[in-house]
Symmetry: C2
Subunit: 293 residues, 2 copies
Amino acid sequence: MRLFARIVERRSFTRAAADLSLPRSTATEAVQQLEARLGVRLLQRTTRSVVPTLDGEAYYRRCLKLLDDLDETENAFCRASPRGELRVDVQGALARRFLLPGLPAFLAAYPELRLRMTEGDRLVDLVAEGVDCVLRLGTPAESGPSGGMAARRVAVLPEITCAAPAYVERHGAPRTPADLSRHRMVGFSRPEGGWHPLEVTENGAVRQVQVSADIVVSSAESSLAMGLLGLGLIQLPRYRAEEHLACGALVEVLADHPPTPTPVHLLWPRDRQLSARTRVFIDWAAARFEGVG
Amino acid sequence: MRLFARIVERRSFTRAAADLSLPRSTATEAVQQLEARLGVRLLQRTTRSVVPTLDGEAYYRRCLKLLDDLDETENAFCRASPRGELRVDVQGALARRFLLPGLPAFLAAYPELRLRMTEGDRLVDLVAEGVDCVLRLGTPAESGPSGGMAARRVAVLPEITCAAPAYVERHGAPRTPADLSRHRMVGFSRPEGGWHPLEVTENGAVRQVQVSADIVVSSAESSLAMGLLGLGLIQLPRYRAEEHLACGALVEVLADHPPTPTPVHLLWPRDRQLSARTRVFIDWAAARFEGVG
DNA sequence: CTCCATTATTCGTAAAGTCGAATAGTGATG
DNA sequence: CATCACTATTCGACTTTACGAATAATGGAG
C-alpha cells in the first residue's frame, strides 16, 4: 500500500521504488499482486507514463488515510528507537556548519536509523520528491509556494557587511549608509536580472541600497571568494564570515547598520502523519541551532 | 495485527492461530516481533493464560479500527471473487434441508472460498468463537442476548400440528382447540422444567394450551420420532413434516388453528466490517430461503 | 503433593518473497 | 524514419519468512 501510494505520487515505478529503497521489480510485482487481489486495474501504465485509473485514484485516497492512521498508532505505542531510512534535503553550507558536527552522535543515539541527506536550496515539493524534511535559508513564503507543509523557525542568523582589508585600503570603509554611493559590491545575481541590493538598517528601518558591482556571481561560495579577493563589499551570515574575521581576511563595516537577519526553517509535510524518524530528526536539528541568532 | 486482535479476543495463542489457520509458532513469533518493533510488552502471558497489558488493550482497540477501515477499503474495491476461509455455524436440520443442496453450486461460484461449517443451536458469541455468521431458528432475543450483532430474517417457517394415523385411530383427531383437553402430546422439555405447551391460533390470537404428555424429549429429532410412533400430537415446521405427510406417516390436525410460525435468522457481528466472504454467503443463504414461509 | 493435560515457545526444514541483471516496449530526438 | 534513452517487466539466485514437530512450563485434578 505504501508503495502504491508512492507510485501514484511520483507517477513512476522506478522513482517510487528508489524512495523506498526497493528494486524496481518488487514494485511491479507488488502492484500486479494488489490488482489481482482486488480484481481491478489501478494503474494505467505504459513504459513511459504511469497514470492511476479512476479506481486507482480513489484507492490512493483511502490508502493515504489508512497509512496515516497506521503511522499514528505505531507512533503512539512506539517506545523503541526509531528505525528505517530518513531522507532530508538541506542547504549545504548550513548543514556543514551546524548539523554535520553533531551527526555522529545523532546516528549513534538511534543506531537503527539510516540517513540519506541531499543538498539543495530550492523549495522542493516534499511528497513529489520523496523527502521527509528540508532545511532551508530564508522565509518559506518567499522561497515559493509552501502549500501543505509545516515550518519551524530554528534560528535567525544575523547578517553582516564585510570587506577584505585590501578593499578597505583602496576605497576606505563606509561609516554611514550615505557613504555607499562611492563604493562597490560583489553582486549576487537575481533570476529576474541584475543583482540583489545591499541592505542597511537606518533609524530602525531596513533600506535597500543599489551599489555598483564589477562582478556578479550566482552562488554564495563565489560571493565570499570574491569578497575575500577585495572586489567589493559583501553581505553574508555572521557564521560564514567568522573564521575570516578572526584571521583578519575580512573586516566588518557598517556594524551599526546591519542587513536583515536570515531565518532558518525546517519544513515537513503537514498533511501526512509525522513518522518517529522525522520527529526525532526535527527535534535534534532544531536543538543544533539553539542559541544561534 | 489481525492475529494480535484475534489473540486478545480469544485470550489464547492456540485458538487464535486455529481461527486464522496458522501454526501456533507463527502466532508466537509474530507477537514477539510486534513487541520488539514497538518496544512495548502487549500481552502478559504464562503458558496458562494470555492477558493484554494496558498498552496491549489500547493497541487492540486501535487495531480493531484499523482492520475495520482496511476491510472497508478492500471490500469497496474488490471486484474479484472472494477468497479465504469462511466459518459459519448453522442449525443442522435447517442447513441440511435448505443450504446443503445448493452448496456445491455456491462453492463452484466462488472457487477460492473455503467453507468451514459447524452445527449448533445456541447463540454463540461470534467474535469469541471465531465464527463469521450463524443460522438460527427462533427469535434472536429469546435465544439469548444478541448484543452487537446484526440479524436478517430470511424466512418465517409455518408450523403445523400433526399426529400419526395410529394416534388418530385411537384418540380421534381434534377439531377445535377445546378438544385438546382429551388429547396427549409429545413433550419437548424446557430448561426450567416441564415441557413446551402446544400453541393454537383462535380468533386470530395465539394461545398456549398445556396438554398432558406421556413422554418428554429434548430434541426435535426425537420429538418427530415419537410423533411418528403415535405417542401424541406434535408441532413442527411444515418442511420437516412434509415427507411424512406425503407418505401418510403423519396427518395434519387443527389446520385452521396453526401454531406461531418460527422465524429463521442469519446473524453476524455488526461491530466489525463485513468481509466480502461473509457478505456473499449471507446473500446466497438468504436466497435459499426465498419463497419459504 | 504428584501427575496430567494443555499451553507457549524453540529449532530445523521448506516455501515464499525479495533481489539484481537481463528483456521488451515506448516516446522523444536527431 | 531510425535511433536512443528511459521505462516497466521477466526470470533465476538468494534471503527471509512460515511451517510442523519437539520442548519447557503451568495450573488444575486425583
